[in-house]
Amino acid sequence: MEMGQQVLQQLVNGISLGSIYALIALGYTMIYGIIKLINFAHGDIYMVGAYIGFFAITQAGLSIVPALLVSLVTTAMLGMLVEKLAYKPLRHAPRLSVLITAIGVSFFLEYASMYFVSPTPRTFPAVMDSVAINIGGLVINGQQLLILGITFVLMVILTYIVKFTNTGKAMRAASFDTETAQLMGINSDRIISITFGIGSALAAVAGVLVGIYYNSIDPLMGIMPGLKAFVAAVLGGIGILPGAVVGGIILGVVEAFVSGFISSTFRDAAAFAILIIVLLVRPTGIFGKNTKEKV
């Protein structure tokens, strides 16, 4: 394989990896946008989504689309439940306390799943044929294209919801100023709950797709992708939907190039280094608006 082609192949690898980060980052960024909480449990919600999909296929014998829907709905409810039980009582508490609660929820989801489904990885059944498309030596997997496509479609749908529907307007209002929004007749609690539901549903989609694509899921699978997705969201400008997707794809491409041309052991370091450099140049991320704090 010549150099130019290798670069192209790495670009394909990177974009496909990045689209997974992007998919998780979408939910992350929505939740952050509305309650300014780094929801460290988001990666674990993604893991739970993957397991629900897994059991829907293997135990209930569903095919992929119904299984995805079951996982999506159940995980959305789980996300709303977590918000109601763990975050809502702390709405007026110091932000760091909520963050610690999020870490607590994350540990709880990880280790409760580990207790119930054992730490052994499960192999996702092959519910979809994996078609490798070969274009003059350049290999693209059909599932990669599917994940990328779904990410973009979801981004467009979400942007539409947030920009043009009443719920979306309420979301933006609540994100701008929760209390004023409440005074204007918006039920902020309901809006926050809906946001958690949508964000968690997105995580479930990502979880099931990753399960299908990589064939294996385990209770700690959410930690790293969750962290990377957060990095992607910050990179793109947290709270901004297209930012999450762009951030995710940049991250994926950087990782692929570092793994391919330097060494994969420096991959994560490079990902963080890119993040820090971008933040130093643009302290609120690529698409972030720089708001000056007033006294």
Binding site: M1, Y214, M221
Partner: protein, 391 residues
């Protein structure tokens, strides 16, 4: 007034927390060792990033101990496994070992699974003169330090040089390979040292290592590195790693069009590899391990494990089972639960039939002398292509 109210509330929270902890530690403390049981400390990775290895080994150990107790125990006493979690971390492994020794008063330790954690534990065990059997730690440093064998530390598995040599020989002699790429898990001592041995032996036999690449445990996507491995176009790719990553590596390598044979070691010995990679992708791969599932002598173990846990054992479970059998035999020969006697008995183990074959402990290195086999993955099954008896 303001303060005292706040203080009172605070104190009650604090007191509550302490009380909870106190009660828990109270009943978890040393319940008086009854004379008709012998306590075995199991220090394993039960949470954290290699929990699946620790847990599988513990499953194997528990099965062995259950079988022994069902057959009347050892010298009329029951064996009791007291487990402790080391969170997959070296410092916590010391902490867990200290707890098992000082609070639970165990006579012998089994575990942890990972080399670094065993090495961390070994000093505490030596200081307290409690023998350790490491079921899966393959690095030579586990039992030998500065050319001296550590008197209380034993293992019941291969060491890395043994497997690395076997596979390098197999690559050059049986597969007639001239060039190789080595792809190791950089977060694992096991994988790195196997890669090193393979390289030395492969080059000694006249082969050429074209490229050495690394990944990290828990990686999901290997395509970037595999893309550059593909450009090397080597005769064989050597991936000494654990099953979860191996399955994904094989799958993604085949997808990218890497067709050369892929070789591995006993970390591959899990049916999950085939589930993850798929039957077709797994063709033309070979790995060394402890036994072939067609061996008559391991049938009993395989059936018993399947019956108890509902799935086939992987290599960790098999090695945990071996450690349990080895230990029970040693305690039996020691005659009582004196740690020094048990230590000596483990050292004198000879021609003992365990789950995966027959082992003899080498008193000079505390490594077991045992057979190795090379299996080929073929159309969903495994074919034994070589059996290497210890010299």
């Amino acid at each position: 007034m303001f303060f005292s109210k706040k203080t009172a509330k605070l104190m009650s929270v604090l007191a509550g927390t302490m009380l909870m902890g106190g009660v828990l530690s109270g009943c978890g403390g040393d319940s008086a060792a009854s004379s008709d049981e012998i306590k075995i400390g199991a220090n394993f990775e039960m949470t954290g990033n290699v929990a699946n290895y620790g847990q599988a080994t513990l499953d194997g150990l528990n099965l062995a101990i259950d079988e022994i107790n069902a057959a009347g125990g050892v010298n009329g006493k029951k064996l009791v496994v007291v487990s402790a979690d080391n969170k997959s971390e070296a410092a916590e492994a010391v902490n867990a070992a200290t707890k098992l020794i000082s609070d639970d008063k165990v006579k012998v330790l089994v575990g942890p699974a990972v080399t670094a954690n065993v090495i961390a534990e070994s000093q505490v065990a030596t200081d307290n003169k409690v023998p350790v059997i490491a079921p899966d730690a393959t690095s030579p440093d586990v039992t030998v330090e500065n050319g001296q064998v550590k008197p209380f530390i034993f293992r019941s598995c291969f060491i890395d040089p043994q497997q690395g040599t076997v596979m390098a020989k197999f690559a050059t002699e049986n597969l007639k390979a001239k060039t190789a790429v080595i792809y190791v898990d950089n977060s694992s001592d096991y994988s790195k040292s196997l890669g090193k041995v393979f390289k030395e032996e492969f080059e000694k036999a006249g082969g050429k290592v074209l490229m050495e690449e690394a990944f990290l445990a828990k990686d999901q996507d290997f395509k970037a590195t595999l893309t550059s491995i593909k450009t090397a176009n080597a005769d064989v790719v050597f991936v000494p790693a654990y099953y979860e990553e191996v399955g994904k590596i094989v799958k993604q390598a085949r997808e990218l069009g890497i067709t050369s044979p892929i070789l591995g070691t006993d970390g591959w010995d899990d049916s999950k590899v085939a589930d993850i990679a798929g039957v077709d992708a797994l063709n033309n791969t070979y790995f060394s391990t402890h036994y072939s599932d067609k061996d008559e002598s391991v049938k009993g173990f395989l059936e018993a494990f399947e019956k108890k846990y509902g799935h086939a054992p992987n290599v960790f479970a098999a090695l945990g089972y071996d450690a349990g059998k080895l230990l029970a035999d040693a305690i039996k020969r020691a005659g009582n639960d004196d740690s020094e006697k048990i230590r000596q008995a483990i050292e004198e183990t000879k021609d003992l039939q365990v789950g995966t074959g027959i082992i003899t402990m080498d008193p000079k290195t505390h490594n077991p002398i045992k057979q190795a086999v090379i299996l080929q993955n073929k159309d969903g099954g495994r074919v034994m292509v070589a059996k290497i008896m210890p010299e």
